[in-house]
């Protein structure tokens, strides 16, 4: 049991250590000068292995990744600084080899697109909300009924009254009218009318 847990511990340590270090760089590629090697590793992690899409050349076992790693080291040994090495490779393989796309005219959409989208959406949201509020507030004084509306209302009242018991005094009629006109009015309180339909009053409460 003790042996097994010791074995497990070693395996875990090995996995953790191996997980961070790249396994692609072969011993024969490593430069003798540790400073140059460090720079080479750093550059390599920023360069895409062009045939494996989303791996850096530092991570990839592809032939071309190995060739590019050797090329990076060759340029470093020749005395190039880090930028010159990257430029050298970009000149041959294009911006695509850079895992971090540069900020330049043809990548403007890439870099500015998402923030621009956010700004547009935020602006539209604010505008929409303002219009919505304004419309509800403006709903406080609805337009007076047009003659046609008035005639329609009268007809409606007549119809309801005609299906009801006789109403010689006309009290029921005026009651109906009052109820219907009440229903056409916008809700009195803006805050607790969320569920009561459109704010401009065209589709307000049903007469009850």
């Amino acid at each position: 049991m003790k042996q097994i847990s010791a074995f497990l511990a070693i395996m875990i340590v090995a996995l953790l250590a191996g997980g961070t270090a790249s396994l692609a760089v072969e011993p024969d590629e490593v430069l003798d000068n540790p400073v140059l090697e460090g720079r080479a590793r750093e550059i390599s992690t920023e360069l895409r292995c062009v045939v494996c899409q989303n791996q850096s050349i530092d991570d990839s076992n592809a032939d071309i990744a190995r060739d590019l790693r050797l090329l990076v080291r060759e340029r470093l040994v020749a005395g190039d600084d880090d930028e010159q090495v990257v430029e050298y490779i970009v000149a041959r393989y294009g911006d695509f080899v850079l895992l971090r796309p540069p900020f330049q005219p043809n990548t403007l959409a890439l870099w500015l697109g998402p923030p621009l989208m956010a700004v547009i959406i935020a602006t539209l949201s604010v505008l929409f909300y303002q219009t919505y509020r304004q419309r509800r507030l403006a709903g406080g004084s609805p337009e007076p009924l047009s003659p046609t509306d008035r005639a329609e209302l009268d007809a409606l009242v007549e119809r309801i009254a005609s299906t009801s018991p006789p109403d010689p005094t006309g009290t029921r009629r005026s009651q109906f009218r009052a109820e219907i006109e009440d229903g056409l009015k916008p809700p009195a309180d803006l805050d607790d009318t969320e569920s009561q339909g459109d704010a401009d009053g065209s589709n307000g409460q049903q007469p009850t």
């Binding site: 071309i64 060739d67 590019l68 294009g94 695509f96």
Partner: protein, 182 residues
């Protein structure tokens, strides 16, 4: 204004569909991630100097040897199946008078010799690039790749992948004609 807002999402969606449809159907710039634009097009061909594969195979050439004529440089290897697929077309082009140079990429000399004996050698000269260092210099990502170089030594076109009859008709031949004419 209101109508406009209602139509907007529909219009945007239609535009998106249009873009997707054109990307799917347009063979020219179809969305194949393996087809990368080469930054070398329009630039002078990078200087390389390659030995011959073997004594009895015409070859060994350097970038200067390409000057003065329109040339095609084809990167191939004996282990590369698509290279074999395009080989008859390369052979035909060479027979039609196109100066085709070959870069034998990451190959074994003995394999290359056998392959050329079996399938024919249309190349004016072959440079042996066993360690792919020259291919790297030319920005080669995956073979076969074919470059068209004008008489001044400028790379005017690069095709990644095998040359098919379709590619030949629509890309290679028009480009060759254009470069020859100009």
């Amino acid at each position: 204004m209101r109508r406009f807002i209602v139509i907007l999402p529909v219009a945007l969606f239609a535009a998106l569909l249009g873009i997707m449809a054109s990307l799917l159907t347009d063979g020219e710039r179809n969305n194949d991630p393996s087809r990368l634009p080469s930054p070398l097009v329009g630039k002078p061909a990078p200087a390389i100097s390659l030995p011959a594969v073997a004594d009895n195979i015409p070859g060994g050439f350097s970038t200067e040897d390409l000057n003065g004529h329109v040339t095609m440089v084809n990167v191939f290897a004996s282990w590369c199946i698509p290279c074999l697929a395009e080989h008859p077309l390369i052979t035909q082009l060479a027979a039609d008078g196109v100066r085709v140079y070959g870069i034998n990429h990451r190959d074994k000399a003995s394999d290359a010799i056998t392959w050329l004996r079996r399938h024919g050698n249309p190349y004016k000269a072959i440079g042996f690039d066993a360690d792919a260092r020259a291919s790297l210099e030319w920005g080669v990502t995956g073979i076969p790749e074919t470059f068209i170089i004008d008489a001044n030594g400028t790379i005017t076109y690069k095709h990644t992948g095998p040359i098919t009859p379709d590619v030949l008709e629509r890309k290679i031949l028009p480009k060759l004609r254009e470069v020859e004419g100009g």
